[in-house]
């Protein structure tokens, strides 16, 4: 940490620049070569049993080659990469058409980092190696039917019974609950406390008796969301992370992580998608049936605009990486990048639908199909904090406006 801090201080005296150091260039070459030779040639299958095997196998191959936890510190088996190295990795990963991490997402990007920050040594030793090797798939049990944006009003109850918690209630929007072995679960352990104070963050074994999982079919046709029901589910108190009733601050550190670095890869993938769309606009006809779509005035203007906006998204990402290299925790500015990305990706989806016209109306279940992406991206302004919540954060914590009623 001292070394990192020293590096961060030195960096602040470097001139503003777009150059990577010779070491970073060498790192990029190494990453590019490995990814070119190892990224699976076959596209990921539709979500389900096969896709789980595909995701697991790909994560193991990365781990075995030393690319197991890009953002994780070395002492817990991760790569210990700097933010700039992570940026390089994500850029090259997207350039190599690397698949989305799928079922490993919650473990690698949420639960693992949370355990690293707040878990006990025993919890870390037990779970972290399994997450890195994809021996343990995780899911997230935060939202409830009555607790979405107002997450702190969650009502899933955990009563203490000896050295166990007894959990009753319901979670929703739990990705991969049908294949996960472990869950990061928020429960109310003190019903009398004010709402943010009585919550605990616990590790729930998904094989525990009393758990029922019901998949939810989404508008894009996929079904990785689930409802999870808890009926007298017993969880050892030793599975509580960071102490009883401290769950809110622990959950917030996870969400800050999501708003911090998770968008690096998305930004590069979006840029590639826009270039594909521009290429497509040269191949298909405009609505008048005579010219290519790219010569249609409206499509040309919208394509140019999203192309420029995607460049701005990259600039915001670089600025955010520069900023985060100088501070310990990502600040509220991450919400601005998140919101800009979410709205932009939705505009790109809508543009593709308008441009493709009638051919886009035939149902195509492939995840890369334009219509599939169009429907899928509606989740971008909802998951991980709706765009309304992001605007509250920006208004209050970036601009200093008064809190909403």
């Amino acid at each position: 940490m001292d070394g990192e801090r020293r590096e961060a201080r030195l960096r602040s005296w470097w001139p503003m620049n777009l150059h990577f150091s010779p070491d970073e260039d060498a790192f990029r070459d190494q990453v590019r070569t490995w990814l070119r030779e190892n990224v699976p040639k076959e596209p990921p299958p539709m979500p389900g049993i096969e896709s789980r095997a595909y995701d697991v196998e790909w994560q193991r191959r990365q781990f075995d080659a030393g690319w197991g936890g890009i953002s994780w510190p070395r002492e817990y088996g991760g790569c210990g990469f700097s933010l700039t190295q992570q940026l390089i990795w994500h850029e090259e990963y997207a350039r190599a058409d690397g698949p989305f991490m799928g079922v490993n997402f919650v473990g690698l990007s949420h639960a693992g980092p949370t355990l690293i920050l707040r878990g006990s040594e025993e919890q870390k030793r037990f779970h972290l190696p399994k997450i890195l090797r994809a021996d343990e798939i995780w899911c997230q049990g935060f939202s409830e039917p009555g607790a979405g944006s107002d997450l702190a009003s969650l009502r899933t109850r955990a009563d203490i019974d000896g050295d166990h918690l007894v959990v009753n209630g319901q979670k929703i929007w739990t990705s991969y609950a049908d294949t996960a072995q472990s869950q990061e679960l928020l429960v109310r352990t003190d019903a009398a406390a004010v709402k943010h104070k009585g919550i605990s963050w616990v590790i729930c074994d998904m094989a525990s008796p009393g758990i029922t999982v019901r998949p939810i079919k989404s508008i894009s046709g996929g079904a990785h969301f689930c409802e999870v029901f808890y009926d007298d589910v017993r969880i050892p108190i030793s599975n509580v992370v960071g102490g009883l009733n401290n769950g809110w601050s622990i959950a917030m550190s996870t969400l800050a992580f999501e708003r911090g670095t998770a968008f690096m890869a998305e930004q590069v993938m979006l840029a590639r998608r826009i270039e594909r769309l521009i290429g497509l606009a040269g191949d298909i006809k405009a609505p008048d049936g005579r010219r290519p779509a790219i010569l249609d005035d409206e499509f040309a203007r919208r394509l140019a605009t999203v192309r420029a906006e995607c460049a701005a998204l990259r600039a915001m990402t670089l600025a955010s990486v520069s900023r985060n290299a100088r501070q310990e925790l990502p600040g509220p500015e991450g919400s601005m990048v998140r919101l800009y990305f979410a709205l932009l990706v939705q505009r790109v989806g809508a543009l593709a639908m308008d441009m493709l016209g009638a051919p886009a109306l035939a149902y195509d279940p492939q995840p890369h199909a334009w219509s599939h992406q169009y429907f899928y991206e509606f989740a971008q302004t909802i998951g991980g904090g709706t765009s309304e919540i992001q605007r509250n954060i920006i208004g209050e914590r970036v601009l200093g406006l008064p809190k909403s009623a």
């Binding site: 777009l18 394509l303 605009t305 420029a308 460049a311 600039a315 800009y340 601009l399 200093g400």
Partner: protein
Amino acid sequence: MDLLPTPEQELIVAASAKYLGAEMPVERLRRANGSDALALWPRLAEQGWFAMTLPESVDGGGGLGIVEEALVHRELGRYLAPPAVLGASLGARVATAADLPDMVARIVSGTARVGLASLQADGGWQLLDTAGADLYVGWTPASAWLWAADVAGADGTISIDPAISVAMMRTTPGVPVAQVPASRLPLSDVASVLLAAQLTGIAEAARDLAVAYASTRQQFGRPIGGFQAVKHQCADMAVACEAAYSMVKLAALCVAEAAVDASFAAASAKLVAVQAALGTSRATIQVHGGMGITHDCLAHFFLKRVHILEAVGGGLREQQARVLRAAID
């Protein structure tokens, strides 16, 4: 890779911001009559803004780069500085590239004032900041020109922006003084970056005006900024400003390093900054309610300047065409 200004760059910016805040508050425009530049001129030359990027061997040359200049132009935008400041900086570049040291000296010292000329679709040129202009600078992606002002027809009339006068010329803006191809001086990219920087400063100033008003104006017993309908408009302004500012820095670095995608980055910066500045200054009028539609409220000065700067060197549609045509890395 680093996209945050260094302490040295922040010092340069702070010096400009201090002068602008003390000597050129936006409130001055309430009494403007089409010749803001004329009123301010003798003192502006002393600030070093006309020759920031010229070598120190030139009298007044700052020896800095376009990155520092863009950061300063963001401040100039914030205070709605006369477009002739940009004219001087661009004109001095053209005169330098054309090896006209006397002309450079006249521009840098403030003796000759440079207005801006923008090519129109019909082949004519729109002149900007015409009051007392001695020279005009104009450019296309392929070439840059400097003209001596042709007295006939270039008098100009007051524009929608009360600080500035404009004129429309059917042919060239004056007597040719110099022409430089883009291969020697990519003036179009430089101009796009500096215009984008000014537009970003305007967007940020408009955002700050809206946030300050929303924090103090009370209705229903509380500041209106506590209502989500207002707060979310301000949040959208903050996001647009962050996008524009980040893109300006990225584009300035690309132009400074003559990167392959410099033209793409410069055109993208202007496009994104125009959108941010239009959206923010319009929404700022709305956040001010009835006050927003008065001449006394500063919001309209920002919006009007955005329309003026958007048109310089090719408007939004022209930027869109360039962005789509551009090669990228």
